[in-house]
């Protein structure tokens, strides 16, 4: 598997990277020219990637804040914004 960053820990992957690798895994598995043991390994990797993507999708939460600026116009903190 020289073309796949298998070593990358999934929980540190960005959504986009996990997504791209999941697509590669599914493609390889669907082409069916992998050995049986490899196909099981790919499936497990794919399942983990999918779970990671889903976790990132579930974690979508809106949080809106406005920066508060000091006299010099530099940010000193945030205040929650609601009702918009």
């Amino acid at each position: 598997m020289p073309d796949q960053p298998q070593a990358a820990p999934i929980d540190q992957m960005s959504f986009e990277d996990a997504m791209a690798e999941l697509e590669r895994v599914v493609d390889r598995l669907e082409h069916g020219d992998v050995a049986l043991e490899e196909s099981i390994r790919l499936y497990e990797r794919g399942a983990k990637l999918k779970a990671h993507c889903e976790a990132r999708l579930k974690a979508a939460e809106e949080r809106v804040e406005a920066l508060t600026l000091d006299a010099a116009g530099q940010p000193k903190g945030t205040t929650p914004v609601e009702g918009l």
């Binding site: 960005s14 959504f15 986009e16 997504m19 999941l22 697509e23 895994v25 599914v26 598995l29 669907e30 069916g32 992998v34 049986l36 196909s39 099981i40 499936y43 794919g46 399942a47 999918k50 993507c53 889903e54 990132r56 999708l57 979508a60 939460e61 809106e62 949080r63 809106v64 804040e65 406005a66 920066l67 600026l69 116009g73 530099q74 940010p75 903190g77 945030t78 914004v81 918009l84």
Partner: protein, 516 residues
């Protein structure tokens, strides 16, 4: 004299000092022109360190000096540039020290849309030439930003539109950097906001956004002018965080749009560019999961099917052994009978052979062999004697044929051939010597005709001094005796008057005065 008389004649007119007159002019001018609007083209502009701006306003016939005081200059919406058609508002004043008047400008604005657009185009071209809008500077937007920074007015439809669309597609953490989106503070605030978001530490108390949106609703070109300012364009171009500009309506283009990584026609569109649709991604992930399971199941299914196919093609083990087993049974049944038959047959054969086997039979055979051996021994003695006789006769015959006459004849023949060869060799040598001599004589004749001795016959003579041939008169004069060689012999002479100088040719005294 007449001047003096005139002076006296006009004596009843009031007399001013220069300062008085200048003061009166100043009052008149400032009183009459305390608020004027004047349209003209900006001439030379200078900005000394004091912060005041000095410029000329002109048209095709006149020129008016102008000044913008430092405090006013900082508040100007548009800085005057040379060649710009402007309308300046202010008051006239005089400068008595130099007999000058000027306009103190309070506001200055481009005269009409054409002038504004011309200035905008000029600025755009200059920034483009710097490479700020180059396509290779554009960076791709992140697929799914975690934190989105929005530079806009904190109240109003724009931020609401953006938040609504983000909520619909993919709720994210949003940081709003409040700025004025029009007026004089717009440009510096927007520029500072873009730079400020970039300056945030990635893991600081305020998270650094992965994406910036600079947004403003529609408005007149003057309203949007802040987003054309160089400071804003430079801040957008310098932003390390990918930036979407969404300023004005779709038809409005401001310079920040050129420097941004993406330009959105509306704030809503900017939100659409910023995040993917969460529902679609969930559906996509489900689809991927389904494909994954299906592909694995299919892999198992295909393999299972193949296994079943193969095992069907594989024959049952007992069918493989049936035939051999039958043959074994059959053979093992026949084995005892066959053994018995063989033993019986062998026994009969043994008895038949044993019946003729007696000592007398062996003795008869032994006697026959003995007789044969004796016969052969007798024949051997006579055969050796015969062989020897035969060989001796052969040797005697060969010795009789061996005679010396043949060898002598061959020697005489060889001697005759040697003598003949010697005779031919001496003939050839004589001929070659004669040829060489003839060629040598011919060469000698040629040498004589080419050498100097032949020239003696034609009247030339050679002058010798001792063993050397003299070719120079100086050498002849230096010699004590000279030997002159003619064709038929030599004459010895003494050189005459060795000290007498020879007249040099070409040095005749001038026969007449030189013309030069």
């Amino acid at each position: 004299m007449s001047d003096l008389i005139e002076d006296i004649a006009g004596g009843n007119a009031p007399e001013f000092t220069v300062s008085e007159l200048s003061g009166a002019v100043k009052r008149t001018i400032e009183g009459s022109f305390d608020h004027v609007r004047v349209r003209g083209e900006v001439g030379r502009v200078s900005r000394p360190r004091s912060g005041h701006v000095y410029l000329d306003l002109k048209d095709d016939r006149a020129c008016l000096a102008g000044v913008i005081w430092k405090g006013q200059a900082a508040r100007l919406e548009t800085m005057p540039e040379e060649g710009m058609e402007v309308i300046a508002t202010g008051r006239l004043t005089t400068f008595p020290g130099q007999s000058k008047y000027q306009i103190v400008i309070e506001t200055i604005a481009p005269a009409g849309l054409g002038a504004l657009m011309a200035m905008l185009e000029k600025r755009r071209a200059a920034l483009q030439a710097e490479g700020l809008f180059a396509p290779e500077r554009k960076r791709p937007l992140p697929f799914l930003p975690e934190v989105i920074g929005v530079v806009t007015s904190p109240s109003g439809a724009v931020i609401r539109d953006i938040l609504h669309r983000l909520r619909d597609r993919f709720p994210r953490r949003v940081l709003i950097w409040p700025v004025a989106v029009q007026g004089q503070s717009c440009a510096p605030e927007v520029a500072r906001a873009i730079a400020g978001f970039n300056a945030l530490a990635p893991r600081g108390p305020i998270p650094r956004p992965d994406l910036l949106i600079v947004a403003r609703g529609g408005g007149s070109i003057e309203d949007l002018w802040g987003f054309n300012e160089e400071a804003v364009v430079r801040a957008a171009a310098a932003s390390q965080i990918p930036l979407i500009s969404a300023v004005g309506h779709e038809t409005d283009t401001t310079l920040i749009d050129h420097a941004a990584d993406r330009r959105a026609p509306t704030p809503t569109a900017a939100a659409e560019m910023a995040v993917p649709v969460r529902r679609e991604l969930i559906a996509w992930a489900d689809g991927q999961g389904a494909r994954l399971s299906r592909a694995l199941a299919q892999g198992f299914g295909t393999r299972g099917q193949r296994l079943r196919d193969l095992s069907r093609a594989l024959p049952r083990p007992d069918t493989l052994t049936q035939t051999p087993r039958q043959r074994l049974d059959w053979a093992s049944q026949r084995l005892p009978a066959a053994l018995r038959a063989v033993v019986t047959r062998r026994r009969a054969e043994l008895q038949a052979a044993g019946s003729v086997l007696r000592p007398s039979t062996l003795k008869a055979r032994n006697d026959r062999c003995h007789d044969r051996l004796e016969t052969l021994q007798r024949r051997l003695g006579s055969a050796v004697a015969n062989g020897e006789r035969l060989r001796r006769r052969e040797l005697e015959r060969c010795a009789a044929r061996l005679r010396p006459q043949g060898l002598v004849r061959q020697r005489d023949r060889t001697r005759l051939r040697l003598e003949e060869a010697l005779r031919r060799l001496s003939r050839i040598a004589a001929t070659r010597t004669a040829e060489q001599r003839t060629r040598l004589e011919a060469l000698d004749r040629m040498r004589e005709s080419l050498g100097y001795e032949a020239t003696l016959g034609r009247g030339f003579a050679v002058v010798w001094s001792g063993d050397e041939v003299l070719t120079e008169a100086a050498a002849a004069r230096a010699a004590t005796t000279l030997r002159v060689q003619f064709r038929d012999g030599d004459v010895t002479v003494a050189p005459e008057g060795a000290a007498r100088p020879k007249r040099r040719p070409g040095r005749k005294p001038p026969a007449q005065g030189s013309l030069f």
